[in-house]
Amino acid sequence: MSQDSYRPSFTLSRVDASVAQPVRLFFASAFLWLILASIVSVITAIQLKDNSFLGGCSLTTYGRLKALEGNLFAYGWVTNALFGLNLWLMSSLTRFEFKNAWLANLGGVIWNLTLTYGAIQIVLGNMNGLSLLEMPKEVSLASFVGFLLAALWPAVAFSRRPTGHVYVSQWYILGSTFVFPITFALTHLLVLWCPAQGVLQALVHSWFYQNFHLLWFASSAIAAVYYFIPKESGRTVAAYYLSTVGFWTYFLFASWTSPASLLGSPLPLWIQSVGVVASLLMLIPLVILSINFLGTLSWNRGLSQSWNNTTLRFVLVAIFALILWGALFAVFSTRGFNAVVRFTSFNVGLEHLLSYSFVSFVIFGATYFILPKVTGSFWLSPKLVHLHFWSSAIGTVSLLVITLVAGWQQGSGLRTDWPSGIFPAVLFLIGHIAFGINAFGMLTAKLSSGHESTHA
């Protein structure tokens, strides 16, 4: 079939071919945003060390670049990647052949154009003061429509699936697909369009922020872990019967944890306490997840088997990150510990643990598995894969050590300065460029070889 390919390529399965186009679009945009976000994050890290760096004009002042970095990472990288990941995973689990790729493409285009517009507005200073809601309110409607068009397909695939069997992954994907648009709409309404009064804004914001991270980011990533562990290790999930309890307790408690991020704030005490209790209750689903994940991989040399599999290697790091996050989150949501680390870099570390060490690592692992299936070519260079893994892994561990330790020290009065984190930021950039070269090599190889994927 392909006359001109200089590297092995293969034919896509019918199901993969039916989603290949939108999945490639989502991944390609995700990788571009990731690299851009990493560049910005190197700049902001340097600015913390040298306050005159790129400080001469308002466009590149720290406050704007920091907001830009967060938005590009969350809406550009993670969200686009999850559009692709959830769509591919669902269609491949249901064996559903997707007929409306153009609608998903349209959704992706709208989402990314709105994000581009919003990002420019942030740099121009036309922004709001709540994190991840900085983009001006006129983007709300367009992003919402973009999201629905890009992200609701897993639900369609599920309800029209030809096969009857249902997997745990599918619950989590459906859950996150439903939660995000509702949360998004309610929050934009209550914070940007008809702002709630006073500190209620902060409460709505915390609810949004927590739902966004736990019920869109993390629950999509959990879905992928439930898929890749059995798929790549050839084992069945340990204590599978617990997974239903895990799912429902996860969704039940996660969004109640939001006030835990407001301890000591001017909000009513009872609301804060609800958040603390929910953070402790989150240990229930997290223990179940660890039993399901590690229980499957830990016996009979499963861990070393995983280490030798590119996808599982990333997933393995991610699982440990999730467990560590759950433990730290529960402990540091209690009043005594929280009083020490509140407002310090400790929280930067906790957030990184969830959205990078867990969620992004799952996405990386998943990409190494999925991209060949939707491009029909193989990864260009195993060396770059190694470079990506090691720089991201060392970067993530060093960022965690720096921010968590410094946060604790700041809180106990042993230190006053904020850690800048230039070293991890540079490592991330290197890793992401390695990842990007490999990924775009595959994405463009397909285009240049010029045969339609749907021939399969």
Binding site: N211, F251, W256, I271
Partner: protein, 183 residues
């Protein structure tokens, strides 16, 4: 769990539970909060903000100061903010009722500013801090908010003037029914 409606209904239930339990009940408790006197018949607090300060808040937001500064003083039982001198009493919900956008913040790369207006002695001090912060500090310079006049003197732009008015207006110097100042 093979039915999409069941999953949808379940997830919707969990989400609305927290929405009602946290946000709506929070609203019931705080939604009607307004200005109030500390003592029967006294002046109403928090005070109305000067117009320039309202514009200044917009500058504060648009330059992203909230990335590094919080505006909330925690009670003595929940951290050492008062001991550190961030304010004479802890912040209460009523302090924020007049603010169109609330900037509690979540990172303290710099000090808390909830009571900054009471700490600072003069406008000039704020201007010179914004224009040229201490060397080696993480606080960026906002020299781009200033121009040079014909005689070589430094002239603040409108934005700088508004921002300074806003910073000066940040004060916790009154008692509220929920938290009294210690005399």
């Amino acid at each position: 769990m093979k039915n999409i409606k069941l999953i949808f209904a379940g997830v919707l239930f969990t989400l609305s539970a927290s929405f009602i339990g946290i946000l709506l009940s929070g609203r019931v408790q705080l939604g009607s909060l307004g200005r109030a006197p500390a003592e029967e018949g006294g002046p109403l607090f928090p005070p109305r903000e000067p117009g320039l300060a309202i514009q200044g808040r917009q500058v504060y937001i648009s330059l992203g100061c909230v990335a590094c500064h919080t505006q909330q003083v925690r009670p003595a039982s929940q951290g050492n903010d008062i001991a550190k001198g961030y304010g004479p009493r802890h912040s209460v919900a009523r302090d924020y009722v007049l603010q169109p956008s609330v900037l509690l913040g979540s990172h303290r790369i710099g000090p808390d500013l909830a009571n900054y207006g009471a700490r600072v002695s003069s406008e000039n001090e704020i201007h010179s801090h914004l224009r040229s912060p201490k060397a080696g500090s993480a606080m960026p310079s906002y020299a781009f908010l200033y121009t040079t006049g014909k005689d070589g003197s430094v002239v603040p732009t409108e934005k700088a003037t508004a921002l300074v008015a806003y910073l000066k207006s940040l004060k916790i110097d009154y008692s509220s029914p929920e938290a009294k100042l210690n005399q």
